[in-house]
């Protein structure tokens, strides 16, 4: 693993930022300050961070209803993210989108999506656009184990394969799709087995090992940039929180959650690795957590002190050429 120290520490900070962001979001949602509903990615930081650590700012990412982590890992501004969740006019989408529809086109985020698997057809289009414009960008789509059974997944993967588009199909298999266990909705052991149906390389990875994710992604990104076409990566991970905040979770045993949380936390695992490799100390780690906390506090302060949109703002932004 040739990743330098600076990059490793950056990745660690990213994971910590996602974790704190999500924890904060859960709290403010519970307190009634975040309207609508939100889906948190706690426990899945290894996937978002590992994948996005391999991307350039001009690479594209299409994300999901559970997309805060992808946004942050791709470099989004926390202030505008928090503000969007709060429905404030200073948010990324001026309050029009909220958690489930957040985007930052300036860093290549083509948007979260309230439609499960909605990102896959779009990412095929982004990949095609890269090919037509002859750049060496790559386009990455995240989707869930549940999403993997939707038809557009099939169409997009096939199309990317036959045209050798520079696309990464990253399925975050967090074991659950809302109340449905992964193994109920699909009869495969590894979701990456689907890749063979398109003659596309498929990898199953321990998604809570951020370095393993990074290693596999680097390989897939390199292939894509060199015109070798798409890959599928399955990051096996676990959703620690409910499907949405407030989920009664009658469908699963809390013991299952606790096992993952205690024995397989991607942040703790990475921290241990960094400490063992003498890249990080417990003290330095604390500094990072504190710095992130301060940054998040500033973002919160920004969001809370920002105004709501004016009601009539709802009539803006529909058409360019109105």
């Amino acid at each position: 693993m040739s990743t330098d120290k600076k990059k490793l520490l950056e990745m660690y900070r990213t994971m910590v930022t996602i974790r704190q962001f999500e924890t904060m979001a859960g709290e403010y949602f519970a307190a009634g300050q975040i309207p609508g509903f939100i889906h948190l990615s706690i426990g899945q930081e290894g996937s978002s961070t590992g994948v996005c650590s391999c991307l350039r700012p001009d690479d594209y990412v299409a994300t999901t209803h559970r997309g805060h982590g992808h946004m942050i890992a791709k470099g989004a501004d926390l202030k505008r993210m928090v503000a969007e969740l709060f429905g404030k006019v200073t948010g990324y989408c001026k309050g029009k989108g909220g958690s489930m529809h957040i985007a930052d086109f300036s860093i290549g985020i083509l948007g979260a999506n309230g439609v499960v698997a909605g990102g896959l057809p779009l990412i095929a289009g982004a990949g095609l656009s890269i090919k037509l414009r002859k750049t060496d960008q790559v386009a990455v789509v995240f989707f869930g184990d549940g999403a993997s059974n939707r038809g557009p997944v099939h169409e997009a993967m096939n199309m990317a394969a036959i045209w050798k588009l520079p696309v990464l199909f990253v399925v975050e298999n967090n074991q659950w799709a809302s109340t449905t266990p992964q193994g109920y909705a699909c009869a495969l052991g590894d979701l990456c087995q689907r890749a063979a149906g398109y003659n596309m390389p498929g990898y199953s990875v321990d998604g809570n090992d951020v370095l393993a994710v990074r290693e596999t992604t680097l390989k897939a990104v390199a292939a894509a940039r060199q015109g070798e076409g798409p890959s599928m990566i399955e990051n096996k991970t676990y959703r620690i929180r409910g499907h949405f905040e407030g989920d009664p979770q009658k469908y699963r045993d809390q013991a299952e959650v606790l096992t993952w949380q205690e024995k397989n936390d991607p942040i703790r695992r990475f921290e241990e690795h960094l400490v063992k490799s003498q890249i990080l100390t417990k003290k330095k780690s604390k500094v990072i957590w504190d710095e992130v906390k301060a940054e998040l506090d500033a973002a919160l302060e920004f969001a809370q002190s920002s105004p709501y949109p004016k009601p009539e703002d709802a009539l803006q932004d529909l058409f360019v050429n109105a």
Binding site: G87, V89, G98, M100, G151, P248
Partner: protein
């Protein structure tokens, strides 16, 4: 047997309990139904009472819709839970090119008794992709029936009628109204035939023609209007296809004025169809143009001040009524 007070959710569940007990070809299918009795708890008691007759599916809307169609063609009476009405887009071919056309294309060889249950509507800060009211698309699709209940009794009576109907029915129930309570008759044969509107508040000055969540806006508006001496009649259409044009006509012939109210955005909504028919069929009875009240023509925005601004409110109904009453 006296009426009972129950929520719209409970009324739905009761209809299903009764019908499923009566006819064992009825079953329910959709995403995430058994763990929490539907994602809104709308199927309370059914997973326990009818195991194997309420099925969790993968996230595969085209196949879910297709399972409804294919099972209906082969002897079952499926109720397809479509999770959020917004996702009808993902089963649109199965609904509009298959379910709607099969009986007709094949010369009446077969029946297709399927109910597609679609929770719809806004107001939950769920933003553009989880808040739509899409009934008008299906009204414009020959071969489908379209039902949009408002009060709990309507939910029960119309669901029972929809299940017993031998044709495909798109059934839209508003998410924000699940907990809203009302009287529901206990008679297990209480059925509201499709195509029968209800005059829920008689009045003489203006006809408020509405359905679904619009009904409650109209009732609130009618109360306010009464204070100002305007006596509004509220007609709950309940089913849009078939449409009870007779009841609409009787009301308009009495009041000479009509305002149509629905939550869907105005342009191209069901109000367009109804307004077009009223002015065509009752031209000489109208003392004022038929006005429409609905959401503004944008996707539903997330942030509360904007969402509230976009959705129709009783004040909008009142303003429209005053316009047609020239006051």
């Amino acid at each position: 047997m006296s009426d009972r007070i129950m929520s719209a959710s409970a009324a739905l569940a009761e209809a299903l309990h009764e019908e499923m007990a009566r006819d064992e070809t009825i079953f329910i299918l959709g995403e995430d139904l058994t763990a929490h009795a539907g994602i809104f708890g709308q199927f309370k008691g059914i997973p326990e009472k009818f195991p194997g007759r309420i099925l969790d599916t993968p996230i595969s809307e085209a196949a879910i819709a297709g399972c409804g169609v294919g099972s209906a063609l082969t002897g079952m009476r499926p109720i397809v839970d479509f999770h959020f009405s917004d996702f009808v887009t993902c089963g649109m071919d199965e609904f509009c090119n298959q379910a709607a056309k099969i009986r007709y294309m094949f010369g009446g060889q077969v029946k297709l008794p399927m109910v597609v249950w679609c929770p719809d509507g806004a107001g939950l800060r769920a933003a553009a992709q989880h808040s739509q009211s899409l009934e008008a698309w299906f009204v414009h699709t020959p071969g489908l029936k379209v039902v949009v209940p408002s009060e709990p009794a309507d939910v029960k009576g119309l669901m029972k009628a929809s299940i017993r109907d031998d044709d495909p029915v798109m059934f839209f129930q508003h998410k924000r109204l699940f907990r809203r309570e009302g009287h529901v008759p206990a008679d297990p044969e209480f059925i509201i035939p499709l195509g029968r509107a209800a005059v829920k508040r008689p009045g003489k000055d203006v006809s408020l023609l509405t359905y679904g969540s619009g009904f409650f806006l109209c009732m609130d508006a009618a109360l306010e209007l009464a204070k100002e001496g305007i006596d509004a009649e509220v007609v709950d259409l309940r089913s849009l296809k078939p449409l009870d044009m007779e009841t609409v006509a009787a009301s308009v012939k009495k009041t000479f004025r009509a305002v149509i109210v629905h939550e869907a955005c105005v342009t191209g909504g069901f109000g367009a169809e109804l307004a077009a028919r009223i002015q065509a069929e009752l031209f000489d009875h109208l003392d004022a143009p038929v006005l429409r009240v609905g959401a503004k023509d944008v996707p539903i925005p997330f942030s509360p001040p904007m969402e509230d601004f976009v959705l129709p409110k009783p004040a909008d109904v009142i303003a429209a009524v005053k316009t047609v009453c020239y006051r």
